[in-house]
Point group: C2
């Protein structure tokens, strides 16, 4: 099985596609740019959802659901938003099919044309702010802290499973506040939640920072991002949190009466992460043998394989261990399929990234031990059955921490500094990763560097760690440190 | 607040709309037929989802996700399915908007016309069976037990919040099996899961049975349904499970090689429940003062209200009680909003259907008691703070059981028998509810009765409890007992 995966060193892009396919994360579909998320891929997303959802709720948010469709005219109400989102999208023009009068099949019924076309939401600011207009009258109605789990569609030309698809699953938070300060704090809180989730659950280290004006969300006054590093040295934008100012409140005329009955426009944020995170998880940890999943997000954390085949005695021990592990909240699968050999099963679970595999054989049972293999390092050891639950519990924590440490070391080893545009180009071409450099703060320079190097500014370093000096491209005075990288 | 609700006796339909609006379950949206599900309505749906999802997983199912869009041609591949689903639906014809060359705003880019139109899924059998074709080769790939949580769109002409909306949320299970018997058992298993969920969690008694051929899902060989009774005497179809035979396997050419390497078409089921269940829950239990939510599905099970206002002493007791209840897995909210009076809060939580309200006042604290009010019967009692957690835990169970008993008594009192079409008409007009009668098994008779009474056959009585005799309409020999009712 493992043989079927292209090694990373040979072709990183093909390696990723191979993992997605062979591990059973996703499949292509009959619809251009839309993928089918298979049970394993969806299981990882479900675990991500559950964790993020509890973090949103712990910070005071509730879920709601807004329509899939947006009237075409809504998209052009906010001046910048229209440029960013009212272009490549799925447009509904009719509401009926009819039997083909000239042959088999069905055709669009020309008489069922919509008065106003609808667009499948590419993001929901417009439909939500049109709704908030009815929900917000007074300061008593604020803050409004709402999140939505939904599918969205952006008609992308070039798609890749999880990383960029026409339809994707995501959450989008949309909050409304009485003051600018409160909205800014909200955007910062979520930025922090995203970073914590990425590091503590995905074991994926991230750089936190603000986007440049040119890279901001269309309609935002500030965009905060978490940026991760993939094993090919390219950055992945993994989650963004936007301070929207009063832009959408003004576009949709959403005002509230304050304590003195004075009317003010409402302040807003929006923020989202998507199934793209599944792609980020795959690219951060997996190896040439297949998928590697951090234990905290693994749909199956432990698999138990009878060797060579299940029998009554082995199954009794397997059930006992499995019950002990489940009592500790660990998800376990016993593979008692008699049609497949242990070697085949080992290869399968390695490919699928199950963090811990326990093999139970008759000879081991005589010694009251089982074989425990960890997916990340592929180390095996014989462990006494007595106390195996505590051993596995600690092992899962160790695997989670090891994955993070390894990814962090790789990431830290791939943060460089460039003092000139040539140096930046050299690092990007030969080493990859993030490159810190001084920036003069202009979009002009930013775009010029992109043209020369294909790298973009992933975010601004909030500590401005390189001090003051000259921009590496323009030579103009510069006091902001930014992270350049090639990105997905 | 309560005054704003139209009494059921005056106008049942308006009563329902009032509850949905005043309790904050859902709102109309700017898009025709699509609702906004507000946090309370969505919270109920989230609890339904969590419970159903765990029941599906306990019966061996996993989740996956398939595309929102279906190529137009897919809908016409299964002969009966096309009639049922390829008509009123959202049709995507273009993939781009452009700036209006003749004025402000955006217009459809005529050059971005799709080669083949896409339809927003009204249900996913076609796209899923087109995918299963790639997933199923051998008996080893079976059974495939997959569920999807998704949004679907059916362009309904007349919509009502939750009960019938253009877009709705649902789950749809799609399973593939090697044998007819296994597929039939699967459809029966899910039928039983749905009934158990409705009765044990929604506290909504249901009649289980098969649909008549005329009322079957388009493309099914057998449709099993659970039918509930609303307080106006009308039935609500609450969940259906379909045995699809080999219809979709043949339409999409899905075959498997059996143990002898002989190729066979795969057997299928599909099954679904939707946000319609939220409407059913509202209509089953609520009263003229507002929403009533069964404790097992209530987003907030207990609310604690300081009387008249929060102070340090009251808040200390409130926190203590709340921690004790949370330790028992009970969801609690402390309302320490100083801007609202207790009377206002009481009315609000009554409207929102919070099962248990605890009032804490200074005078009660001296006696070491609190006031506990249950939403269903509106009974109040003073309960010692010591042991309050056990009291509330039992009270929630009691409320859950009482709601079911009350609904079941109402339902049982509204199951009648008719020996003639006149008697059927009389019962339907004057009493409502389910009416058992003998049926000759023909669609002709079924449609004639519908024309005469507006009632439909909700399901066939699996026990044929009325024995043999004559059809109440045609007079022809009849040996099937059916349940007639007017329905949503």
């Amino acid at each position: 099985m493992a043989k079927e995966i292209t090694p990373r060193a040979e072709n990183y892009s093909q390696w990723y596609n191979d993992i997605v396919k062979k591990a059973g994360l996703a499949d292509n579909s009959a619809v251009r740019g839309c993928m089918v998320i298979k049970p394993l891929g969806y299981g990882i997303w479900e675990n991500m959802k559950a964790q993020l959802d509890s973090m949103f709720k712990a910070t005071g948010h509730v879920n709601a659901y807004f329509p899939l469709f947006i009237p075409k005219s809504f998209l052009s109400k906010e001046a910048e938003h229209v440029e960013g989102f009212a272009k490549e999208c799925a447009v509904i023009t009719h509401h009926r099919l009819m039997n083909n009068p000239n042959g088999p099949g069905v055709v669009v019924d020309p008489s069922a044309r919509l008065e106003e076309e609808l667009v499948v939401r590419p993001t929901s600011e417009t439909i939500i702010w049109n709704t908030y207009k009815d929900w917000i009258q007074s300061y008593r109605d604020l803050p409004l802290l709402i999140n939505q789990w939904a599918n969205v569609v952006r008609w992308e030309m070039r798609t890749r499973p999880f990383l960029r698809t026409a339809e994707f699953l995501w959450q989008e938070g949309h909050t409304a506040h009485a003051t600018k300060q409160e909205a800014e704090e909200e955007a910062a809180t979520i930025h922090e939640v995203y970073a914590r989730f990425a590091e503590d659950y995905m074991a994926m280290p991230v750089i936190k920072g603000a986007k440049t004006p040119n890279e901001r969300f269309a309609g935002a006054e500030e965009t905060y991002t978490i940026e991760a590093l993939m094993q090919d040295g390219k950055a992945l934008q993994a989650g963004t949190s936007h301070f929207l100012g009063q832009n959408f409140a003004k576009a949709f005329d959403v005002k509230y009466a304050d304590q003195n009955n004075k009317e003010e426009y409402v302040w807003a944020t929006s923020w989202g992460v998507s199934t793209r995170l599944v792609g980020g998880l795959v690219m951060t940890h997996s190896d040439d043998e297949g998928l590697v999943i951090p234990p905290r997000l693994a749909p199956t954390q432990v698999v138990i394989v009878p060797i060579p085949k299940p029998n009554a005695q082995i199954m009794e021990v397997a059930e006992k261990i499995s019950n002990q592990l489940r009592a500790k909240g660990i998800s376990v699968k016993i593979d008692n399929d008699k049609k497949k050999r242990p070697g085949f099963k080992f290869a399968q679970y390695e490919m699928e990234g199950v963090p811990v595999r326990i093999g139970i054989g008759m000879r081991d049972l005589e010694k009251q031990v089982v074989e425990v293999a960890r997916r990340d390092t592929k180390e095996k050891s014989y462990v006494a059955i007595d106390g195996i639950d505590r051993y596995v519990e600690e092992l899962l924590v160790d695997i989670q921490n090891s994955l993070f440490s390894k990814a962090k070391k790789y990431r830290d080893d791939h943060i460089s500094e460039a003092k000139s545009i040539d140096e930046l180009k050299d690092i990007l071409d030969n080493k990859g990763g993030f490159v810190k450099a001084l920036w003069d703060g202009t979009t002009e320079t930013e775009l010029k560097v992109k043209e020369l190097t294909k790298a973009t500014i992933r975010c601004i370093d909030s500590t401005d760690s390189l001090g003051e000096g000259q921009d590496i491209q323009s030579g103009a005075p510069a006091k902001q440190t930014v992270y350049y990288a090639k990105a997905y």
